[in-house]
Amino acid sequence: MIYNAGSYDVVVVGGGHAGCEAALAAARMGCKTLMATLSMENVALMPCNPSVGGPAKAQVVREIDGLGGEMAVNVDKTAIQMRLINTGKGPAVQALRAQADKHEYHDEMLKTLLNQPNLHIIMAEIEEIETSGPRVSAVITKTGARFSCRAVVITSGTYLKGRIIIGEVMYDGGPGNQFPAVKLSASLKSLGLELGRFKTGTPPRVYKRSLDFTKMIEQPGDDRPLRFSYMSPRLRRPQFSCWLTHSTAATHQIVMDNLDRAPMFTGAIKGRGPRYCPSFEDKVVRFAHKESHQLFIEPEGRNTEEMYIQGLNTSLPEDVQIKVLRSIPGLENVALIRTGYAIEYDYLPPAQLRSTLETRMVEGLFTAGQINGTSGYEEAAAQGLIAGINAALKVKAEEPLVLKRSEAYIGVLIDDLITGDIDEPYRLLTSRAEYRLLLRQDNADLRLTEKGRRIGLVSDERWRVYSAKKDRLEEQKEALKGRTYTPADQEISSFLASRNSAALKDRFSLWEILRRPEISIQDFVDLGLLTEYDEDVLEQLEIQSKYEGYIRKQEEQVQRFEKMEGKLIPGDIDYDEIFGLSNEARQKLKQIRPESIGQALRVSGINPADINVLLIFLEKKRRK
């Protein structure tokens, strides 16, 4: 018996990292929003590594923050360790990484959601998406509640037809033995959407008190007060260490002896898994020459005994897992809490999506997160945010928000998803970004806060903080450029000499002097040449000056790039009508349906001649 349970602007299916951002964004943008989750326990759950950030991912977290999302603020509230990594490798790849307290992360996010005006959370399984004509019109729960709505964002993560595999043992289930979502897949298929199957896995968790840390190397956090969000207070928080150990020859032998029981090799697992997150058994087989593999032992929270073993993601049988663990230095007497497992799940090949994350098949139906073939909390959250924003903008009949590859990692992520052939779970890498030097974690706020403000997600308080920083920055930049010195200036000359820095030959500004590798902005502060003390502003000034040459080069490339992005292809174009396209190109274009000439150029199998043909066709159409 189906009953009418209410009417909403936006319904978000799922309360993972994607669902949380989507629901908060829609509600904050003024839409009456419903979030449905299979369980309150898995809201903002981290089913795997208790860590957020790192190369490419830290940039994304900051971008989410710049737009007015929640992830950065929530990590800052719940982090038990933070480190700045890649510090010697340049500003583009420098990245914050936090260990979060898994339980607090969940609690804090849930609190934020529950207190959010316009947002209603229910624990329910959505089984069906209803449409009226080409448009989504309602969702129906397992218990018969029908919620009518104008837009739906599905963020089902790894739950769709989830199947757990541990050695010979297999059963239907979501991560962490949650219930899977069984029926939604069929509903999506009946709407004409295509689904595929991926796989991922997670390592065992063990008791902290069963470990011998004297046999491991301690990995402390940074003592500096670090934070993802510029809205968070600068806190020096207690740092919980991680620990480094490694596998041994004995470990590898145990794996080799049990390959006949490893689902990865027996054919029991059919879904494609991620290369960047291989199972331990896979690593042992593929890198047979490596005598040992690093393993990081990470705390799952401050008040828990549970420790996560990074590097030991596995679906070997439980008895073998225990043997493997015991062969590792420091884990000889280990006591298991959770067994490692692999999980297979349905995903939606994302070539079916528009750049707004709306499906092309069904108007008003958006998908975000792991359902789109990605993996990772940050990737999920970023998509959730964009899908939530665009669902809200759609309801409000406003222009959608699409970030370009030149503007944000989020833009790179979504463009890769909708343009590429995603044949394994997708993860962001800095090497996927063409304009890496522009997409830094340090300037994410400068890149995106204004956009966030325009769509109504950036609060007054955030806007005030941002504007103040920006003004200071411009002011100080002018000051640095305006203050010039000649060889006759004693103070600066003797300072340069004291740094073994070449003497001035001519008139130079502080801005130019700052470009020298041996000079830092702190020097100017120490010399009293600068009246700025805000670390973020100083950092920004230093990076912009030191890397000006490289940054300018990339900005020039971006100008060329944007010309092609700006040349749009009408959505109703009929590729069969175009004379002169190669067959391969025609197939590909029909499948991907790129939105611009720039995107078309990135579709594999499309060559410049095809693009030229397309351009001529569009021009001919225009003149008609």
Partner: protein, 459 residues
């Protein structure tokens, strides 16, 4: 890609004559003006009206004159493409035209894609909508042809060589990217190894460029000029060379009445050899048009062979001629070595022509001719000469890509110690990306693949 500045040689490659380089785009007049030295001081092509012709020279990177050209300028929308267009009419045949194109490209243009001028003409409304299909035919035909050719050039032995190069650069990129994206697992970049790969790749690229240059020379040939005072033995030398050469291509009459031009080949290199007999630089016609003409022939030659007469000694006339040619690619031949009495000494040669290699020869007795041929080959092929089994045709587009790859590697090597890895990555990727234009692969994905094969990455 739509309206950036493009350039290409518009005339089909082939025998001598005039080659036209066509430039199209918003900035081409400005850019052309930077490499153009007008014949008359004070002329600036930037101020010229459309449909104007200007005489002058294309300058190379060092400011030296490269070729005398006629520059035709058309302003948007009154040109074939509908954009500002410059056409450079080069006089010196295909090799100087290639050099001119390179110089122009260095101003920040790219080589036009096949059919691109026509495509632009259409997009700018210079062609009727009804011609769309015809335009598409042109584009398809031209690019299919170019593709087939490129595939052919990159087959067999050559492809192995390029694949190895690509493989090394992939490895290098994977090393850099892995270190940036997976610092925990991969750690620091192995700088010494990276440097090795860069140096090795640089050498490989250099070899490709030179082999390609050599192939172009073998295919397209060069222009050489024999000069010297009357009776020094120019005709005799020409005859000796022609007689030796069994495969005389043609004996075409000079393009002007008084220039004798022969086609022959020295060591397989096709050479258009001009004997300046008809354009003597004698006192009586110093003022005359002949001088200009001979100057022009000399200027356009890739190589000048200057004859001295051991019987007469070095005369004022010799020195006058030498003045005209001393900056050219020059070989001096001291002829009539068979004479008993020689009136030129080594010391004199050193004094008047210091630094130029002199070959002692006799056209009559066919002595020193082999040495001359060796020297011609050496001078023409230059660096590209080394015994090398690499047989590769490198077309202009490929050569341009290789040059860019080389520049990226040179830059990377230079800044390796001073910039952080993310900046270094810009040039290291640039080198591979340029190479990818030759092989037509999506190397970005391959770098990522390579990263996961070479390194054990993953939590």
């Amino acid at each position: 890609m739509f309206y950036d500045d493009i350039a290409a040689i518009a005339t089909p490659p082939g025998e001598g004559g005039i080659a036209i380089i066509r430039l199209s785009g918003g900035q081409v007049i400005e850019k052309a003006s930077k490499v153009f030295r007008p014949y008359h001081d004070g002329v600036d092509i930037r101020n010229k009206a459309g449909y104007s012709l200007t005489l002058g020279w294309i300058k190379d990177e060092t400011g030296e004159d490269l070729d005398e050209v006629l520059l035709a300028l058309m302003r948007a929308p009154h040109s074939y493409t509908g954009e500002d267009t410059v056409e450079i009419h080069c006089h010196g045949g295909i090799l100087p035209a290639r050099r001119c194109l390179e110089v122009v490209l260095h101003q920040g243009m790219r080589i036009a894609e096949p059919g691109e001028f026509t495509r632009r003409a259409f997009l700018h409304g210079r062609l009727d909508a009804s011609q769309a299909e015809a335009v598409i035919d042109v584009i398809r035909a031209k690019s299919d042809k170019a593709m087939k050719l490129a595939v052919k050039q990159l087959s067999g032995h050559n492809s192995e060589y390029i694949n190895t190069l690509e493989d090394r650069l992939l490895e290098l990129n994977a090393m850099v990217e892995a270190s940036l994206d997976f610092p925990d697992e991969v750690g620091e970049l192995e700088y010494a190894k990276a440097e090795d790969i860069m140096l090795g790749s640089l050498a490989a690229i250099e070899r490709l460029i030179q082999a390609g240059e050599r192939a172009a020379i073998y295919r397209e040939g060069i222009a050489a000029v024999i000069c010297g005072k009357p009776n020094v033995g120019k005709s005799s030398l020409l005859n000796v060379l022609l007689k030796k050469e069994r495969a005389i291509v043609t004996s075409i009459p000079g393009t002007t009445r008084d220039i004798i031009e022969e086609q022959l080949s020295i060591k397989g290199i096709p050479i258009r050899l001009v004997d300046t007999a008809g354009i003597r630089v004698t006192e009586d016609i110093v003022e005359k048009i002949g001088v200009e003409r001979s100057q022009k022939v000399i200027r356009e030659a890739d190589l000048v062979i200057f004859l001295l007469d051991l019987g007469t000694g070095i005369t004022a006339e010799d020195l006058a001629i030498y003045k005209e040619i001393k900056n050219r690619n020059l070989i001096i031949l001291a002829n009539k070595e068979d004479l008993e009495e020689k009136h030129i000494t080594e010391d004199e040669l050193e004094h008047y022509f210091s630094g130029v290699r002199v070959i002692w020869a006799s056209a009559r007795e066919d002595k020193g001719i082999k040495e001359l041929e060796d020297r011609v080959e050496e001078m023409i092929l230059g660096g590209a000469l080394q015994a090398d089994d690499l047989e590769i045709m490198v077309n202009l587009r490929q050569r341009e890509a290789l040059t860019r790859a080389r520049k990226h590697l040179e830059d990377a090597l230079q800044v390796m110690q001073t910039v952080p890895l993310d900046c270094l990555g810009v040039d290291i990727w640039g080198a591979l990306e340029a190479l990818g234009e030759i092989t037509g692969k999506n190397l970005k994905e391959e770098v990522i693949d390579r990263m996961f094969t070479d390194f054990c990455i993953g939590k």
